[in-house]
């Protein structure tokens, strides 16, 4: 009985959602019947455009840029795994009005190209509704937004129209044309509900692939916990032991691990570690000898972040270190 009532509740919820945004009749036609049907699509799209555009962001990290979409007032962002490229990366998001906010990537699924990021600045931010109920069907009219080729304030995010032309398990295909820079950007139904995230294209203009929202729902909790999922082609997993701090140390007579050398342009130098510093804690764990330190470091990968507390002139100083490639 319990299961049944839960199912009923779910059905009611879907029904309520569907009632709030009744399915557009034109979506159930093989092809629009004429100008009134075309106007129905246009009117819905124009109504959905301002809010969806406000929530569409350009994501810049390193030398590249992609797109993303904000889905909560606090600033949770959905994007593509091949845009964030990893967990805990620093990203700058450019909002529609050109203002920049700091973000950090959360988890990702390297097999399906799903990824999350969160804005670190304080909200509220403009956001869109996510179609968690998976209400879209083959042939539905949809629109895509994205910062094609990078952020361009004069232009804004370009909007493109199309239909869902192919639906597979982990991919949906539309004929909304995408290009570099759109990656991670949103695909919407005509009510402005998020139904997919731009992932990749084929050489044919019809081949524009999106990650369906159901794949995000499937990986949701793990992504929120900043997990790196899968071993797919969309992001490379950090290799344990590839992280490099770049110092030489000795076990000093006072029972401390003392820094004797700091490598040029090493992670330690960038964090302003000095010769003579005594390393006393890494990520909250006490360090009493070199072996204890090595044990922690050998599980770390390039770009991992560490909190290292050193003793310098009798004072404890916390250094934020980002490991480099060995």
């Amino acid at each position: 009985m319990k299961t049944l009532s839960a199912l009923t509740l779910l059905a009611m919820l879907i029904f309520a959602n569907a009632q709030e945004h009744p399915r557009l009749p034109v979506n159930d036609k093989k092809v629009p019947a004429g100008t009134p049907d075309m106007r129905e699509i246009e009117t819905a799209l124009k109504a959905a455009l301002p809010a969806t555009r406000k929530a569409t962001v350009c994501l810049e990290l390193g030398q590249g840029s992609g797109s993303g979409v904000i889905i909560s007032a606090e600033g949770l962002i959905l994007t593509a795994a091949h845009v964030t490229g990893g967990v805990g990366k620093e990203i700058t998001a450019i909002l529609a009005d050109g203002s920049k906010v700091k973000c950090e990537s959360l988890g990702l699924n390297s097999e399906t190209d799903c990824a999350m990021a969160k804005i670190l600045d304080k909200g509220p931010f403009p956001f869109v509704e996510v179609d968690r109920d998976d209400l879209s069907k083959l042939g539905d009219w949809v629109f895509s937004l994205g910062h094609s080729g990078g952020y361009d304030k004069d232009r804004g995010a370009g909007v493109r129209i199309g239909r869902l032309v192919k639906i597979a398990d982990s991919t949906v295909q539309s004929d909304c044309t995408l290009i570099g820079g759109d990656s991670g950007g949103p695909l919407f139904d005509l009510h402005g509900r998020l139904i997919g995230i731009h992932s990749r294209v084929g050489s044919n203009l019809q081949q524009n692939m999106h990650v369906p929202i159901r794949e995000f729902v499937r990986s949701w909790d793990q992504m929120m916990k900043s997990e790196f999922m899968g071993e797919g082609p969309f992001a490379k997993k950090p290799v344990k032991g590839s992280g490099f701090l770049g110092v030489a140390t000795e076990d000093a007579k006072d029972g401390k691990v003392r820094v004797t050398k700091v490598g040029r342009e090493s992670a330690a130098e960038k964090a302003e570690m000095k010769i003579g510093d005594a390393i006393i804690r890494i990520d909250g764990k006490d360090i009493t000898n070199k072996d204890a330190m090595q044990k922690i470091l050998k599980d770390k990968a390039a770009e991992d972040k560490l909190s290292i507390v050193v003793l310098r002139d009798g004072k404890e100083i916390e250094l934020k270190v980002v490991l480099t490639e060995r």
């Binding site: 093989k30 092809v31 629009p32 019947a33 004429g34 100008t35 075309m38 106007r39 699509i41 246009e42 799209l45 124009k46 455009l49 030398q63 590249g64 840029s65 992609g66 091949h82 042939g139 094609s148 080729g149 990078g150 952020y151 004069d154 232009r155 804004g156 995010a157 370009g158 909007v159 493109r160 129209i161 199309g162 239909r163 869902l164 032309v165 192919k166 597979a168 398990d169 982990s170 991919t171 004929d175 044309t177 995408l178 290009i179 570099g180 820079g181 759109d182 990656s183 991670g184 731009h198 992932s199 990749r200 294209v201 084929g202 050489s203 203009l205 081949q207 692939m209 082609p233 969309f234």
Partner: protein, 333 residues
Amino acid sequence: MKAHSFFALFFTITTAVQAFDTLESEFRTNGNMMHAVVTRAQQSLQEFSAVIYEGRKEAGYGIVASEEGYILGKLSELKPLKEIKIRVGDQEFSPVALVAEDVRWDVALLKIDAKGLKPAVFAETSDIGQGSWVVANGATSRSERRPMVGILSANFREIRVEGGAVLGIELKEDKEKIIVGNLPEISGAFKAGIRQGDIIVSLGGKKMKNRAAIAEFMKDRRVGEKLEVSYIRDGKEQKAEVELAGRADTYGIEKSRNDTMSGDVSKRRSGFPRVLQHDVQGTSKTVGGPLVDLDGKCIGMNIARANRAESFAIPVEELREISQRLLEEARKK
């Protein structure tokens, strides 16, 4: 646009075997079944768009500007063509004469020997809002224009020329003199009579001290602008009027990763004072014709296929002015 590299989308399709449902191609956004949906737009394309051929090959489109046979087209695509023929409706016309041009907007006015053509019906405004349906020429048959649909995609804006406007001269500096080095024959400077070895004195009446000063001065210049260049040859100061061209037009475009996924784009796709952006999926051979709304009114002229996701049109407000100006110029001759 900024010059950093972008996350390119993956260029391959997942080959994993998956069950999937597919929408038949005729029902897709630009499938055959859509032609009957936009009948008024198609009728307009049929009446006032011109198909331009080089020999038997389709080379572009045009807009009928007057009933006595004046046709607007994309200048940079048309100029190099030999043996132009034009079809309006199912009638074919030749010879075709180029009678006036606007380099800044890249618009040509052509003349054919015709009477009683239906000129384009211009809309009041092109400001019909992003997300509005628009229709343009796709493929064509002898008698029938085939419509392709899309929507207005982005803000009206200027498209600054890729790489900036250039004189088309390689400059050398020697003992505080700026000396003209290599210059391609298609460059504005060569056409104005400047040659290798000339010494540049001033641009637009301003003395130029060195190459850096010239680079700074050129930053704010526009394609199509005419610039007075003073130079010394054989000890004598001379003047030339140089028409500026885009860097890409003079030296060619370096293909970006995004270009490699865009297919056949227009050679000249930048340096327009104001454009409407839309997502009708054309090629370099589908521009030059009208962009119409669902009522079949002309809201602009397709002037460039920029990349996979972006097409540009001259808004009807400017198009009307360009058309009138070129027609007056041609009729005076």
